[in-house]
Symmetry: C2
Subunit: 248 residues, 2 copies
DNA sequence: ATGGCGATTATGTATATACATATTGGAACG
DNA sequence: CGTTCCAATATGTATATACATAATCGCCAT
């Protein structure tokens, strides 16, 4: 395996050395040249190969380790890791963006807004242990004239008091919350569901027809902020997740 | 060995300094104390605050930048970033693992195996431009006695020639492929679908009832390897994706 | 005022060095 | 023969230093 150029006489050498080392190794792994379990060269070997200091090599290897491509063991060396659990980066865009990406006019319409003390179900889905005020919202996202998604949301007013004063008649609660509440963690659940009567009527589809349901719970510093359920008619929506087994 | 964790101010320092700096800053951001746009202290200020070298501070800040929490600008400083793009890490486990995690016995049964020249549909879903041999497989994953998921797969034999000699009667093609073929990219599409006659009969559910469909295309070094479609009865399956906007 | 230009400044990258820590292989010893 | 212990070794973390690079501020001349 020969590296064509070793000198800095190359044109357009604008990337940093540790980055170059990183992507060299990454290529070896992703191409299969270095299979899982393979012991990659020791830091001091790479130091000699690239004619640089150990810190530079270390930076590249540390990043590869953090990205999960390799595993580092003291005294033993660094090893290519077994293919990772099938993890994919799932992009969940704002619904307005999704709709506009389809070239259709977007509109949001509030169906219901209810301030109430949390009932058992609210506490269960939010993960609350003590009672408190919550805001229940139901709204419909339109793509053109057709309903695109039904949104059902519970906001924990103990965490977001200002939401109590907001009508959400025109602006969807999602965009409103983003930027106002720093969130530290989110969990998504994705499943298929048959439309019940209410859903079918609202989305203008047949009862029993399949829907894609995306539920999201959001926390801010361990406090539950909101739980939202998006219900898409089956034809209207596909989630796409792309995965490249590398760092960003 | 026990960790005397009593002193959390200074002494019992089990984590590294740059990690401590990193999580301190991360906490400030996630708690909202440092809102988007806020200019976080300069490296030399943090150097003084933590009484350490600039390299240590730099390591923490660089990682925060790579994680997307802050943005660094030369001469200006580092700033808390605004847009947390809605991206989540979606874990797609091996079906055997999923089933066994439920405490049910797992079994795989091959329904069909067909070696053929690729037709137009095969080429479309695999993204092939030229004709070639493909292997079509259909199999059923069981959780206990109940069908758990139906798998429909096309393998590009130009990319994985050895697959032609494999019966896949007992072993599912997924685990077989993993480890044998290094893959460089994958794409998932997730949607809801009504069970057609064939699916309903195979999965032992009513025709028209909702199913969750997960389709995955896999490439290895720009060559399409396989396309697989998993069809889950709605009740049997929920995808879970968790996201923490921190470093890995 | 204003447009150019150099000084200043914060970050980006890399080096040489040092010591800590975990682990392994082998030597020493009972 | 087996157990203990030590030395060798690879990684983990941190320091002080150096120079590069980009962007900004303010001075100065027009």
């Amino acid at each position: 395996m020969s590296l064509a150029e070793t000198d800095e006489t190359e044109a357009g050498e604008s990337i940093s050395l540790h980055q170059r080392i990183l992507s060299d190794i990454q290529d070896k792994i992703l191409s299969g040249a270095w299979p899982p379990g393979y012991r990659i060269p020791f830091e001091h070997e790479l130091t000699a190969q690239y004619n640089c200091s150990r810190m530079t090599v270390n930076k590249a290897l540390s990043q590869l380790a953090k990205a999960g491509l390799i595993e580092r063991r003291r005294r033993s060396g660094s090893f290519v890791r077994q293919p990772q659990s099938q993890a994919a980066v799932l992009e969940l865009h704002d619904i307005r963006i999704e709709v506009e990406a389809l070239g259709l006019p977007y509109r949001y319409e509030r169906l219901e807004r209810l301030k109430r003390r949390s009932n058992a179900e609210d506490r269960a889905i939010l993960g609350l242990s003590v009672p408190g005020s919550v805001l229940w919202l139901e709204g419909l996202h339109f793509a053109g004239k057709r309903p695109f998604a039904l949104e059902q949301r519970v906001i924990n007013l103990s965490a977001v008091a200002e939401a109590a004063d907001e009508e959400f008649s025109e602006i969807a609660p999602g965009p409103w919350l983003i930027g106002r509440v720093p969130w530290s963690e989110a969990e998504h659940r994705i499943r298929a569901m048959a439309a019940d009567h209410h859903v079918a009527e609202t989305l203008d589809i047949d009862p029993g027809s399949p829907c894609l349901v995306v539920e999201r719970r959001t926390w801010s510093a361990d406090h539950p902020v909101t739980h939202v359920r998006f219900i898409y008619p089956a034809e209207s929506h596909t989630l796409v997740a792309r995965f490249t087994p590398s760092q960003g």
